[in-house]
Amino acid sequence: MAEKKPTTSRKRSSGTSRSSGTSRTSGPSRSSRSTKSADAKSGEKTSTAKSMTGETVHFTRDEDVYAYREMLLVRRFEEKAGQLYGMGLIGGFCHLYIGQEAVVVGMQMALKEGDQIITGYRDHGHMIACGMESKGVMAELTGRRSGYSKGKGGSMHMFSVDKNFYGGHGIVGAQVPLGTGLAFANKYRENGSVSITYFGDGAANQGQVYESFNMAKLWSLPVVYVIENNKYGMGTSVERASSTTNLSHRGASFEIPGEQVDGMEVHAVRAAGERAIAHAREGKGPYILEMLTYRYRGHSMSDPAKYRTRDEVNKMRTERDPIEHLRSRLIEEHKMSEDEVKKIDKEVRDIINEAAEFAQSDPEPDPSELWTDVVR
């Protein structure tokens, strides 16, 4: 099986997600800070980008390669999941993350080991980005025994204690108090960790979000709320659903700082993520990042997406695609050859193909599993 690039040296053992779980915790920290300092010593070239706040963000070549590879891994994973769904191998709901990859990858580069991640039902990207194995995730999608939840959770319900990934929640907005509770536990234990709590523009109108904002600020909990604004809550545009459309201001009445971030630009995401996480880690309480992003596919596999034009989607794909953008940066600024980039593409494709094969050959759960894990 293809190993990932050296800067992350994340072990991708061939075993199932569960059995290999503990071995994957020992990898080096994925903190961008450690990567950056290491790279600075080696005097590598950096690329730059402007964030929405006008600041300049530097990425080393290794960081750009890492981000490219991770985003591509998410995209190829989702494309494959879409294929398998079409073949009837994945059932039920399947919400694809295609288009939004820069958000999870940038945030992942900003956090450090021990920080928790929790999200809603569009969760495949988050799992891949935080280091959960494609095989285990894909096998869960096909409802097989080596899936992260032994086939009992499905697309929306996967977890990893090793990677501090707390799901995978199917009720819109429910993860927001849950993520706030993770932050509560961090503060209770004074462990210095931050909870990264993702939700969408649709969930941003749920009452429990504001109940959580209030408590998070009241108790200065270390939580970063990442609102992935992909412009549509299912089929309803933000404009048709929200009285105020700048969702970064939604914490204003609680005095929670917030900012809008170009969620199609991984550099900007990481920079904003570092600011927000530092704020939370320093004990200053919650922070809101509104990621302006876009999903190319429908809300779920059965969504014909009639609420927007094909032109709108195509325009985003051609002009704002986070992966294409980084690909040209690798070639133009880091002077990588087409072959070098294609090599990455192939590695990623191999991982995903292997995951897809595994997810089809892995057996379904034993019938006895019906009765396990109800209580402990």
Binding site: P177, L178, T180, F184, A185, D373
Partner: protein, 478 residues
């Protein structure tokens, strides 16, 4: 005539209180609105104001007196122009009023003009038949669950719950309690009294009024390994949070293939209190009992409350712990042992009998036990099974009892449709059909929202008479 100042009811369930302090002395003049005394209820210490003006003629109940019944006279107020001679006359009528029923409406000025049977001997006020009073003996020293020779102590359900939390918080630093008014207010129903002092604000957390949010927050903290006790001021308010209880707390362990779960207790008063009407009087036993992944407990006695709450806090699963406001003030004997834990999922035979099995839980047990006493006088020996845990239900104990008695009646305050009684009835069909000599009968609350009017409220709840009637029907002695 001097006006009698009566012991006021200061909460829906208050039956008696302590006259903590007199603010006014005999001879003081009072105006309407003046604070005259401080009264300690089972929930709080409250100031009592005068509603009439006059002179405080005589104090009838000394400060520091406990167990002063609601509606009993505590002082006499002299109206303008009256002098102390009026007090003597009042005192003689006072004696006659002492044995009046506490549930009578507050007396008015003219009541002494229609004296009751003059030949009735004056009586010292007795403790009421129900409610706070002598300890109910549900545990005896020869109970197989406790070591031989164990000393018994009398505690209220309220104290038992607090002690259970305090003991578990001392034992495990990951246990904390959160909810509305649990800390500085000392608990809306005083269940968390004293916990803030001992454990501090880090572990006794006052939340905003935000059930959906703090329940989810608690579950998240549980996912991260803490062991929250989430207090709902009442379970009626937990309906705002039921998504987090069921979808997040109960199902995550299964959905994650056993990877992540939460050790969390959701507790608070459940069911009807008194005169609080439809939105505040609902029994959620069968709602939560329906859900795999949850444990559901409804304690009756102080021993149930203490032993099962400790077990609930230690249990690695989400536990719904349904208390009852009316039972909070009831006193029971409990074994005086260091670490008294009652296993979850084990029913208790509270009374042995051979003629009929009465199955109940929580406050339903009060009807069941009283009915059993009455039935004994009629020569019918009822075996009373206290389920204690609703899920997982100890149905085997019920089956074993029914094999002996061949008859079964269930008692609960909740609604009849899809009730716990319905479940027991079905299980008896499946597991004890050949042992039944009569259909299983259910005594439940009536199938209506709880009415406010006192008479209708009584009608809506089950009664001892209904239990007796059901038992007579299944024993064919009607």
């Amino acid at each position: 005539m001097p006006t009698e100042i009566l012991m006021p009811a200061l909460s829906p369930t208050m039956e008696e209180g302590k006259l903590a302090k007199w603010v006014k002395k005999e001879g003081d003049s009072v105006a309407a609105g003046d604070v005259i005394a401080e009264i300690e209820t089972d929930k709080a210490t409250m100031e009592v104001e005068a509603v009439d003006e006059g002179t405080l003629g005589k104090i009838l109940v000394d400060e520091g007196t406990e167990g002063v019944k609601v509606n009993s006279p505590i002082a006499l107020l002299l109206e303008e122009g009256e002098d102390e001679s009026a007090l003597d006359k009042a005192a003689s009528s006072q004696v006659k009023e002492d044995d009046s029923n506490a549930s009578e409406p507050p007396a008015d000025d003219g009541k002494d003009e229609a004296p009751k049977a003059a030949d009735e001997a004056p009586k010292v006020p007795a403790a009421p038949a129900s409610g706070p009073g002598p300890a109910e003996k549900t545990w005896t020293q020869d109970d197989p669950e406790i070591p031989e020779g164990t000393k018994m102590v009398s505690v209220t359900v309220r104290e038992a719950l607090r002690d259970a939390m305090a003991e578990e918080m001392r034992r495990d630093g990951d246990v904390y309690v959160m909810g509305e008014e649990v800390a500085e207010y000392q608990g809306a129903y005083k269940i968390t009294q004293g916990l803030l002092d001992e454990f501090g604000a880090r572990r006794v957390v006052d939340t905003p009024i935000t059930e959906h949010g703090f329940t989810g927050l608690g579950v998240g903290a549980g996912f991260a390994g803490l062991k929250p006790i989430v207090e709902f001021m009442t379970f009626n308010f937990a309906m705002q949070a039921i998504d987090q209880i069921i979808n997040s707390a109960a199902k995550t362990h299964y959905m994650s293939g056993g990877l992540i779960g939460c050790s969390i207790v959701f507790r608070g008063p459940n069911g009807a209190a008194a005169r609080v009407a439809a939105q505040h009087s609902q029994d959620y036993a069968s709602w939560y009992a329906h859900v795999p992944g949850l444990r559901v407990i409804q304690p009756y006695s102080a021993a149930d409350a203490k032993g099962l709450l400790k077990a609930a806090i230690r249990d690695p699963n989400p536990v719904v712990f349904l208390e009852n406001e009316i039972l909070y003030g009831h006193t029971f004997e409990i074994p005086d042992v260091d670490d008294f834990v009652v296993p979850i999922g084990k029913a208790k035979i509270e009374r042995k009998g051979s003629d009929v099995t009465i199955v109940s839980f929580g406050i339903g047990m009060t009807y069941a036990m009283q009915a059993a006493d009455e039935l004994a006088k009629m020569g019918i020996e009822a075996e009373v099974v206290n389920l204690r845990t609703i899920r997982p239900m100890d149905i085997e104990t019920v089956v074993e009892s029914v094999k002996k008695t061949n008859r079964c009646v269930t008692v609960e305050e909740g609604w009849p449709v899809c009730s716990i009684g319905s479940e027991i009835s079905a299980r008896m069909m499946e597991m004890a059909f050949d042992h039944l000599d009569a259909p299983v009968l259910r005594v439940t609350g009536k199938d209506v929202p709880m009415p406010y009017a006192a008479n209708l409220e009584k009608l809506a709840l089950p009664t001892v008479a209904e239990v007796i009637e059901a038992v007579k029907a299944v024993t064919y002695t009607a």
